[in-house]
Symmetry: C2
Subunit: 385 residues, 2 copies
């Protein structure tokens, strides 16, 4: 693979994101900033790239649409998308599958950008519905063998691991009347920036961010998942016994790719959840979310290593909206007593009764970490520190 | 409430179910029987009743349909349902929210029938789609304020706690093209028996059994959940601090009712997962499932108290079917070394990356227990026994 050229990446002045990797640019906010707003402003929104940022001229950009069930493959322009399709908005969490990878990396070496707990944000995306676009090329839920079909997306983004970024989702998710999958050209009511996929990206609510392909250049209906590296050899929860690249090679094809993410929460303020002194009435803030449109029904917070728990106050306007599923996150607060040098932890329960497990279940790619305990890097033992 | 008369309940000869309560009749199979078949035969299918079994004459039975969006309330007969609507089948798990309540009851007193791990089964139900019936009275996804509407069901069943059994689901679940909600008149290709709701019942795939109302007598579209005891004061995950009926009274209205169930698995063979001697190659069998159409991606099995885990072989034909969601369960087998007097445990991961938590999170109604550890009743401490 030829070396990638990052010279045309946007110049970045001083800004509040913590850079996890320079090239490609990967950065996340400080978590105390993250929970300041229910809708995450772009300045506090994590950036995840797999290569140099494309610099696309909107008026010249076309998206190719082809594959099973499409008699006449076509190209669609941004003008067409903006003028001829109903504009729709969805408020949703964008969360990287590697959010909180650092927690698993402390257990054992993982592969990937070592994200902290800030690789997510809650935004309003606007654009046209993917199902509306597919309907105009004749693809509807009446298509034969729907349960076996996928929609594959390719990106203009040149990448480190593959010729371009690519991914797919089940066609049924794309066509689901309550699935809210968009081809988005706005984020938080402004034109997408290059960091977030200008001029157009897919947004797949309730799924890991890796499926929301940026800089979209093609849409293909096919009877297999995307052949992309990012679908086939990445973003999978490998079993605990897979420790390295060699043994992973025997497992990629046996393990399903991740779609929906799991139930999650984190203490964001105080930032490290730690104190040198016990505090009787510590105000604690954090986030909680779950995949697939599931809302949060409860968050428990503990200042004494999980012995006792206090029920948090939830702020979750996404659950009161007009969407039939809940794609936005939940911010929560609690006031609890804390102990000296004991980390405050939170434990969320989603609307399906799923609970965050106590200890991390390690996996080589370090994805979907949602345990409420973390590992003390000094002792490399499970602990509440 | 007047005393209920159980004299017309079916006479029950010797049969393989373990009776948890006589009147109303509540019984579950031995778990080694339960995993003998992928499709659970009726003889091994748990029975959950809230009162005397109705004895309905099919030819005289009508279902009332009324409420928001229905200009002309109507009654529909079984003949109409069978002759004028397309017959559809769904293979799905029916699981009581109280399955494995015994595990929580050992932690602290819970309210309800003390079910073991056999209050579930995997069946093929056949009938007409609820959405087809609703379409004929003018209720479709075009209805105003869909996200705020519910379908309430009432049963002919007279109950201990309310005038009749009743429950509701979000209207969007009923209308969801991929939701597979049926008005079923067959189970495993035979006419429903009285135990399972003859002549007609609702089946709501991916939801707790309590929403699949038997002996259906009315369907109402309304802008609030069912007012029934079973929706409002039962089948909710109360916080851990709610210890009794009095404190529960302050919480019922604050806690959401359960819809989808959570990720679950259990070791069924050997039955108690215990041995008096260590065995090098113990064959272990069990079940795994998750709610909301999520499949099982992995089951880990441990014979050494969770120190090491072996990946089980999964048998999950439901995931290969024509449905876009997975409603059937997963049976699994593993061969592992076991230790003397150490209980074998299993831990499932569903397609959304949710994992069973290690320790039970107790709740007063003893619902949705999916921990992989249980409590040793002799020591009343958490343990792997």
């Amino acid at each position: 693979m030829s070396a990638l050229d990052y010279s045309n990446d946007p110049k970045r002045g001083p800004h509040p994101l913590i850079v996890r990797k320079d090239a490609p640019y990967n950065a996340e906010p400080d978590i105390t900033d993250l929970v300041k707003n229910y809708i995450t402003p772009e300045e506090y929104f994590f950036c995840r790239n797999h290569g140099p940022l494309p610099d696309i001229t909107e008026s010249k950009h076309l998206i190719e649409i082809q594959g099973i069930g499409i008699e006449n493959p076509t190209h669609i322009s941004l003008k067409d998308i903006k003028e001829n399709y109903e504009k729709s908005s969805v408020m949703m969490v964008m969360q990287c599958a590697g959010n909180r990878r650092d927690g698993l990396h402390k257990v054992k070496h993982t592969k990937g950008v070592i994200w902290g707990p800030g690789a997510l944000g809650n935004a309003v995306y606007s654009g046209c519905r993917l199902r509306d676009v597919l309907a105009t090329v004749g693809v509807t839920t009446k298509i034969k063998n729907l349960s076996k079909l996928h929609v594959a997306f390719e990106s203009v983004e040149q990448c480190e691991e593959d010729k371009c970024y690519g991914s797919s989702i089940p066609l049924s998710k794309a066509l689901d009347e309550f699935g809210d999958v968009l081809l988005a050209y706005e984020m938080n009511y402004s034109t997408l920036t290059r960091d977030h996929g200008f001029p157009i990206r897919v947004v797949v609510p309730g799924y890991i961010g890796g499926r929301s392909v940026k800089y979209l250049k093609s849409i293909t209906i096919q009877d297999y998942e995307s052949m992309s590296y990012y679908q086939r050899r990445d973003y999978k929860i490998l079993p605990e016994n897979v420790l390295d690249e060699d043994s992973a090679n025997n497992y990629w094809c046996k393990v399903p790719s991740i779609g929906e993410y799991n139930v999650q929460s984190y203490v964001c303020n105080p930032a490290d959840g730690m104190h040198e002194a016990a505090i009787a009435n510590q105000k604690v803030q954090g986030y909680a979310l779950s995949g697939g449109g599931r809302s949060i029904q409860r968050v428990d917070v503990s200042g004494d290593d999980g012995k006792t728990w206090t029920t948090a106050q939830l702020y979750q306007p996404a659950a009161e909206g007009d969407n039939c599923r809940v794609w936005g996150w939940c911010l929560w607060t609690a006031t609890i007593p804390t102990k000296r040098n004991v980390r405050i932890v939170s434990r969320a329960v989603d609307s399906s009764g799923n609970v965050q497990q106590e200890y991390p279940v390690w996996n080589y790619r370090g994805v979907m970490n949602n345990s409420w305990r973390t590992v003390d890097p000094h002792t490399i033992e499970m602990s509440n520190i």
